[in-house]
Each structure stands twice: as C-alpha cells, then as structure tokens.
C-alpha cells in the first residue's frame, strides 16, 4: 500500500546579502576589475559634477536686467531670464501671447482626461483632439478672423514653433506611416510599388535638403504670385520625411505578428481592414512602441533644421540672441538652456513610453 505523500514546505531563499549593501556588493564591487571600474567612475563623477554644480547653480546669477548683473563668476542666467519671452514665443506680439497660452492650456486640460482610466469618452475626446483641436489652435495662433489680430507664421518662433512643428509632425507621421507600411506589405502591385517608391525616396534624402528644396526650389516651380506659406512647406517636408521612417518601424511590427493571427481573423470572416484594425495593428504597434517613440524623439530634435529656411525655432532664436552685441560671451548658458529644454521634452516622451509599455502588458504572458 502506498504511503501518503506529504509535500515539502516552501522554504525562504538563503540570505546572501540584503538591501543597499547587498546590491552594491553584487553590482559594483563583485570582482577586482569591477571594483576598479567603479572607483574610476566615482573619480570621474567627482571631477565633473561638483564644478558643474558650482558653475550652474551656486555661483550663478539668476535675476537682473543686463549684462552688468552677472558678477558671480558662474553661469549668467540673467541672459535667459531677460530674453525668456523671445525664447518661448519667438516674435509673437506680446499683447497677443494670451492666445498661445490659451491654446496650450486647452491642450493640456483636454489631454488630462485621457490619462484617467475611468474616463469613458476617450474615443470622442481623442477624435476631437486629433481633428477639431488643430483647427481651433490654428485660428488662435494665426488670427485674422473672429476679431483676433493676424499674426503671420513668420512671427511664430522659439519653443512655440518647435512644439507646433513637432506636434503636427508627430500626429501626422504615425497614421501616414501605418498606411505606407500596410501598402508596402500589400499584394496589390501598384500600391506596393508606390509605397516602396515613397519610402525609399524620402528616406534617401537628408531632411536638410528636403527643407532647402521646399524653401528654395518649390517657389521656382509655382506660378508667379502663388506663395506657399513657409511654415506649411516645412511641415509638409517634415511629415513626408518622418512618415517614411515611421513606415519601416511599423512594418517591422507587422512582420512580427504570426501568420496564425491573420489566418484566425480571416477564418472568422473578418475582412482586410477589420483584421488590421482589430487584430494586427493593436499588437504590431504595441510591439514597436520603442521604435515609434524613437522616431518621435528624433523628429522633435530634427525641427531645429528649419533654421536654414529662415524659421526661428528654439535653437535658432537662442543663436540669434547670442549674436546680440549686448550679450556676447554667454553662449555656454544659451546652449545649456537649449539642451535642458530639449532634454526635458525628450526624456518625458521616453518615460511616458516606458509607462505605456508597462501598462499595456496587463495580462499578457511575456
């Protein structure tokens, strides 16, 4: 007769080392070469960080009105503070800047509910943000109607211009990229050929030449008097360029979806577009979130190239300010400030994408 089996109890693992000390022992000081590297890295940090903090924060001058207020020997943030409006809004008339503030405030207020899980009208809100809001924002920025004073697009500049270029570019490049990726994988020869031609053309030329050609060459081909708005030209160039990159990123995701998913959807009677929208794209896009956000971040920084066609984004405005004879010699502060602003935006996008990836893994065995 068999003896009754009593399962062994679960035991806790042995305590090797716990807490911070344990982590340090395992990761920083686990072997002689590692210990040497750790000490060298600490030495480098000691060389670089305290002087940087000394310059940027401790000896810095924060407030004042002119060059003469920079006496501390450290960073002269007075420069940034004095020219701050211009860095943010470019040449936008100060009296009308409330319109810009209103538009961005509205964007943030409308976007907040999208992050709240319990909110039930996300579909409608997203549709409005994608289709209605841009029209609203355009009229607020541009004016010329509804009693608002006209502010031409040449006057938009600084961070305002960077956000407009990046925002419109990002929102347009993703859907166009998805369509191109689907087109490239299509069985229809004409669609496939056109998609490939588009992608390979726009990926093959540098963005700077695209902007240059759109600004200099396009007017040569247009009839006399027809003037295409410069910002619009830059936007179209950026959108075309980034959609080509986005298409390849999305195509990578589409390729990774097992054939069985397509077959199961087909066997259920779902047509091509329903299969893509309900089954394939949700999975594919989720897979390539890192690639998509990468493209977005690159787009954000590529907007600085519009300087060559005479649009003054954040970087260009700061370079312009640095050329001002009153403020010669403060280029370090200017570029550090630019870098900090770009870094804040890009890092936020990066963190958001990681949070998104974590959230979308719910329930999936991976």
């Amino acid at each position: 007769m068999a003896a009754t089996h009593v399962p062994q109890p679960d035991l806790p693992p042995p305590i090797i080392s716990v807490g911070v000390i344990g982590w340090m022992r395992r990761n920083l000081f686990s072997s002689l070469p590692n210990t040497a590297l750790t000490l060298f890295a600490l030495y480098l940090l000691w060389l670089l960080i305290p002087p940087a903090i000394q310059w940027a924060l401790i000896d810095a001058d924060w407030s004042g009105t002119g060059r003469e207020d920079c006496t501390g020997g450290g960073a002269c943030w007075v420069f940034v503070q004095v020219r701050f409006y211009q860095f943010m809004y470019g040449f936008y008339p100060e009296a009308e800047s409330w319109r810009v503030n209103l538009a961005f405030g509205l964007l943030i207020a409308l976007a907040v509910p999208l992050f709240i899980r319990a909110f039930r009208w996300k579909g409608w809100l997203s549709a409005f943000l994608l289709l209605g809001y841009p029209v609203l924002a355009y009229y607020l920025f541009h004016g010329g109607s509804f009693g608002l004073e006209l502010v031409e697009t040449d006057q938009w500049g600084g961070l305002l211009l960077t956000l407009v270029l990046a925002g419109v570019g990002i929102v347009a490049a993703l859907p166009i990229g998805v369509v191109l990726a689907l087109g490239r994988r299509s069985q229809m020869p004409i669609v496939k050929a056109l998609s490939i031609a588009f992608i390979e053309f726009w990926r093959g030329v540098p963005l700077i030449t695209v902007l240059f050609m759109s600004s200099v060459m396009l007017p040569l081909f247009l009839p006399e008097g027809v003037n295409f708005d410069k910002l619009l030209r830059a936007l179209i160039g950026i959108i075309m360029f980034q959609s080509a990159y986005m298409a390849e990123v999305v195509r990578g995701g589409l390729q990774a979806i097992p054939k069985g998913q397509y077959e199961a959807a087909a066997a259920l009677g779902l047509g091509y577009w329903r299969t893509m929208a309900l089954v394939v794209l949700p999975q594919a896009l989720k897979l390539v979130i890192p690639g998509i956000v990468n493209t977005f971040i690159a787009l954000f920084k590529d907007t600085t190239l519009v300087l060559i066609i005479g649009l003054f984004d954040l970087l260009a405005i700061i370079q312009l300010a640095l050329a001002d004879p009153k403020w010669l010699g403060f280029s370090v502060e200017g570029y550090v400030f630019t870098a900090a602003v770009f870094w804040i935006f890009c890092f936020s996008m990066s963190r958001y994408s990681q949070a998104l990836e974590r959230r979308l893994h719910t329930g999936h065995a991976r």
């Binding site: 998913q261 199961a264 087909a266 066997a267 259920l268 009677g269 779902l270 329930g363 999936h364 065995a365």
Partner: protein
Amino acid sequence: MNQETAHGTPGMTISDEVMIEMRQVHKWYGQFHVLKDINLTVNKGERIVICGPSGSGKSTLIRCINRLEEHQTGQIIVDGVELTGDIKHIEKIRREVGMVFQQFNLFPHLTVLENCALAPLWVRKMPRRDAEHIAMQYLERVKIPEQALKYPGQLSGGQQQRVAIARSLCMNPRIMLFDEPTSALDPEMIKEVLDVMIELAESGMTMICVTHEMGFAKTVANRVIFMDGGEIIEQNAPEEFFNNPQSDRTKLFLSQILDH
C-alpha cells in the same frame, strides 16, 4: 476516454444535403504537387476524420475549404457557393465555416470574452450586449465561463483550445474544420478538448477533423479518410477502416500508429 461509440445518438443523423463538394481539385505549391485529384463529398451531419503521414496534404485540403489556401484546378463548392477568387464568395463561406487551429491562434491582446464576441460584433454586426451574451453561452458550453475576463496568456493549453472552439462557434457556423486541434497539447489536456468535440458532434455539427487521435475517430466519426502523397488513398466507416484496411499503404500507416 469514452470508449463506447457515440453512434446512434439522436443528434448525429446524416442528411442528404451536400455541404461540401470537391471535384477534381489539384493544388501546387510552386512546382510541388500537393493535392492530386481530390474528389470528396461531405453531407450535412457527417463527422469526417482525415489521417495520414505528415506532408500528405491533409491540412492543405481543409485549408482549401475556407480559402486559406487557393486551389489551382478543380471546383470546391461549400454550402452551395463556389469558391473562386471572388472575395464576396470567400467571405460568405468563411462566415459559415469555422476553423480551429493547432496553435489556437487566440488574439492575445483581447480577453477571452472579447475574443469570442469579436466576430459576431464586427462581422454579423450585432449589438455588443448580444454578442457578449452569445459569447458567454458558448463559453459555458465549452465549460470555462469563469475565464471570460482573463487573457489567453493566462490560460492553459487545453483551456485556450476550448476558447478557440467557442470563438468559432459564436459565428454559428454550419461546418467546423479542425486542423490537428490536440497536437500541441499536453496529454492531460487532450481529453478536455476531445470531450468538447464529441459533444459538438453529438449535437449534429458537420465536422472535418484532421487528427492523429484514432480513439476519437472510432468514437465519433462516420467516415475516416486516409491521405498520402496528396491523394485520398482510402475512405471508409471507422470499423471497416481500422479492422479491414484495403490498401497496403493504409495497412502500413495503421501498423505504425496503432501498435506502439
């Protein structure tokens, strides 16, 4: 495994109505001739098991029925509609033919309930509440209603395959195709899936099943087809097929699978 044959259960009657007809069907993959002169008639209520060595074209044959594969010559007529390149015919047929895959192919980003309700919602255009109601009914029928809000990745293989069966049934198909449904499962889970398939057969569903489960064939099938090298070598009622195989190749195959 229930060894008693289920033949004679009231639901399992075979009518004269022809559900699937394949006439002189040939298929090539490039130069490779994978289906050779297939002639097959399936009546309503029949439960057909197709067996044979790998590479014999069994899966290809049933995948031609719902146009997951294209045949080059011959005719395939499903439920009165001929399968051609016409997408409207294809979609019409796919609405009436359900398919269960060896790899389950559940949609991992949707819950079990959403997986099942997807097709009624988007293909039959039902309101969401009705689609979910139907989905729950079939999930109860395959005996896993409590898993409705879980994701496929959280279920065992046997449970996933049962969800896949329920998902196909939610479209109320007239024919069910099974492509080696238990081949990817651990042995303990094979029984739960076969039980669902037996219950389905007893309720009168027309089924074509590619499988290596000969016990299932003996219990439920009214016809067993043996394929090798792209041809149908032999087809017969199960007792005749297993006890009195006619062709040498059939005998060889049976000796390999039944005697180990």
